[in-house]
């Protein structure tokens, strides 16, 4: 589904952040992306989300070389990917329900067709009683779950989560992990970027470890 071949990434004239990175993300797979702080996890996720282009190497997404994708095609490609940003990026003037429904709304779907789906998903992430709440009154963990629900609402083929447990306590972290596993069982490929070893030890999943700009894959 996603294939990186000898990918390198450099910011300006600095040394390469990523060097000769090659890997594949198969359909329905589950993997952790880890490494020390500043190792390039977020950069790699941004490459996966097409918000960056590599300085060398090739990336194929859903069977297409991203170098050939036109600017106007990007929104359609991005609709196949769900992203949970490290800083959530929720819209503070919209309720929890509306934040989660946003991807469907921008795709022109009628609210009557997705109202129950959004409510069900919010129930699933444990926020069924916070439909009307605005993000500023939610806790870090609740915001994280809203961001996850927004990423999942249109059933993406791949979910990218950047430090999804960075702002929550261990109990909530386990709960979110169960959420990702459940999602993976339902057919979505999941990439979780984290430096939380405790979290990774709870699941027997492939580990992609970034160190000194190189990527090693275990499992």
């Amino acid at each position: 589904m996603i294939k990186f071949e000898n990918v390198g990434l450099r910011y300006g004239m600095e040394t390469e952040v990523l060097r000769d990175v090659s890997f594949e993300i198969p359909e329905r797979s589950f993997q952790f992306l880890t490494g020390p702080s500043g190792a390039g996890k977020t950069s790699l996720l941004r490459l996966l989300f097409m918000s960056l282009r590599p300085t060398r190497g090739s990336i194929s997404m859903f069977g297409r070389d991203i170098a050939t994708i036109e600017r106007h095609e990007l929104p359609i490609m991005r609709r196949r990917i769900g992203v949970v940003f490290q800083d959530f990026r929720l819209l503070d003037h919209m309720t929890t329900y509306e934040n989660v429904a946003l991807p469907l709304r921008v795709r022109g779907k009628d609210e009557s067709g997705f109202r129950s789906d959004v409510s069900d998903l919010l129930n699933w992430v444990g926020l069924g009683d916070k439909l009307h709440a605005l993000p500023p009154v939610l806790s870090g963990g609740e915001k994280q779950r809203v961001a996850i629900a927004r990423a999942l609402i249109d059933q993406p083929e791949v979910l990218l989560a950047d430090e999804p447990t960075g702002n929550v306590d261990p109990h909530m972290a386990r709960r979110l992990l169960r959420l990702f596993l459940e999602l993976n069982r339902s057919g979505t490929a999941v990439v979780v970027a984290t430096h939380d070893l405790g979290l990774m030890e709870q699941v027997d999943a492939r580990r992609m470890i970034l160190n000194n700009s190189h990527l090693d894959i275990y499992g």
């Binding site: 990434l9 929104p75 819209l91 009683d129």
Partner: protein
């Protein structure tokens, strides 16, 4: 899974929150800036129209008349000469009326200099015949002057040409200065609206980014913002334009109430009658439409540019902050 509250669903189906918030501090500040600039622009439009109207009026009034001046002399019957000059002038094509200024009127004209109750017959005061001219078919002033001068050597014809030329020049200069000020104000209006709109959009950057990353097309995002900013621009422009019209109405009311006072007459002579003509309404409408269109177009272009920059950063990782 827990049951979804029924009320919540019902409420969501009624009124979804706009993607771009209807009003925030930046939007209110933008509205205020637009209102102030629209007000100033509408005032300038009104002032320029008024100056142009007054200048045309001065020009027209002075070029509508010519004057025959007859100087007194020893053993000269000035009354007969006045009647003769009146007859000669009236005989020319393009002269609609020739009127002798009587002694009492002459005394009134000279009153500011010579005072009341003077006996003009004791003074060598020139007398006047005022000739009214058909502006569309003016007479041959040279021929009138020659004919009058041949018949009455003491008479001269003043066609006010020197005054008209000076006034035309002054009126045109005044109008050009007014138009130049209007252009400056409109330029300031355009720049203020553009920069204020961009400033207001900066606080909404996260909305553009989130919409972009959840797969919204550029047209959809731009559409959301241009609708919101159109209303912000229109509201500000209507407030500014409305305030300017109100100010003109207040001046008009004041001028009409004070028409008979010395101040009112002086103001009317200098600035016209302060009447609200169609020109001011059209000018105000033009300013309001311009501001609303500018705000909308700027919002659209800024959003499209922001999206473009996000995608440009994608193509050029060196523009990223790590």
């Amino acid at each position: 899974m827990a049951d979804t509250p029924v009320n919540a669903e019902a409420e969501h189906s009624v009124k979804p929150t706009p993607i771009v918030p209807p009003s925030n501090i930046a939007g209110q500040a933008l509205s205020l800036v637009i209102a102030i600039m629209s007000f100033l622009a509408c005032l300038t439009v009104g002032a320029v129209l008024m100056i142009d109207k007054s200048a045309s009026s001065w020009q027209s009034q002075i070029s509508r008349e010519a004057t025959v001046q007859i100087r007194p002399a020893r053993d000269f019957d000035i009354e007969t000469a006045l009647v003769e000059a009146q007859a000669i002038a009236a005989s020319f094509d393009g002269v609609t009326d020739a009127r002798i200024i009587g002694l009492s009127q002459t005394a009134t004209l000279l009153e500011p200099w010579l005072g009341k109750d003077i006996n003009l017959s004791e003074l060598p005061v020139p007398r006047l015949v005022v000739i009214r001219i058909d502006e569309r078919n003016p007479p041959d002033f040279k021929a009138i002057g020659t004919a009058i001068n041949e018949a009455i050597p003491n008479a001269t014809l003043d066609d006010h040409r020197a005054w008209v030329d000076r006034l035309v020049s002054m009126a045109n200069t005044t109008t050009y200065v007014g138009v130049a000020i209007l252009l400056l104000v409109l330029t300031a209006l355009v720049l203020t609206v553009v920069f204020a709109t961009r400033g207001a959009l900066a606080s909404n950057h996260i909305i553009i980014e989130v919409l972009h990353f959840v797969g919204a097309r550029a047209n959809f995002i731009a559409g959301q913002f241009q609708r919101r900013f159109f209303w912000i621009g229109l509201r500000g422009a209507l407030i500014g334009g409305g305030a300017a019209i109100a100010m003109f109405l207040i001046f008009q009311f004041w001028a009409q109430r004070n028409l008979t006072t010395a101040e009112g007459v002086q103001v009317a002579v200098l600035f016209g009658d302060f009447s609200i003509g169609m020109g001011i309404f059209i000018g105000t409408f033009f300013v309001i439409a311009l501001v609303a269109a500018l705000t909308t177009i700027t919002a659209r272009l800024t959003v499209v540019r922001t999206i473009y920059e996000i995608d440009e950063q994608r193509a050029d990782p060196s523009r990223q902050s790590y």
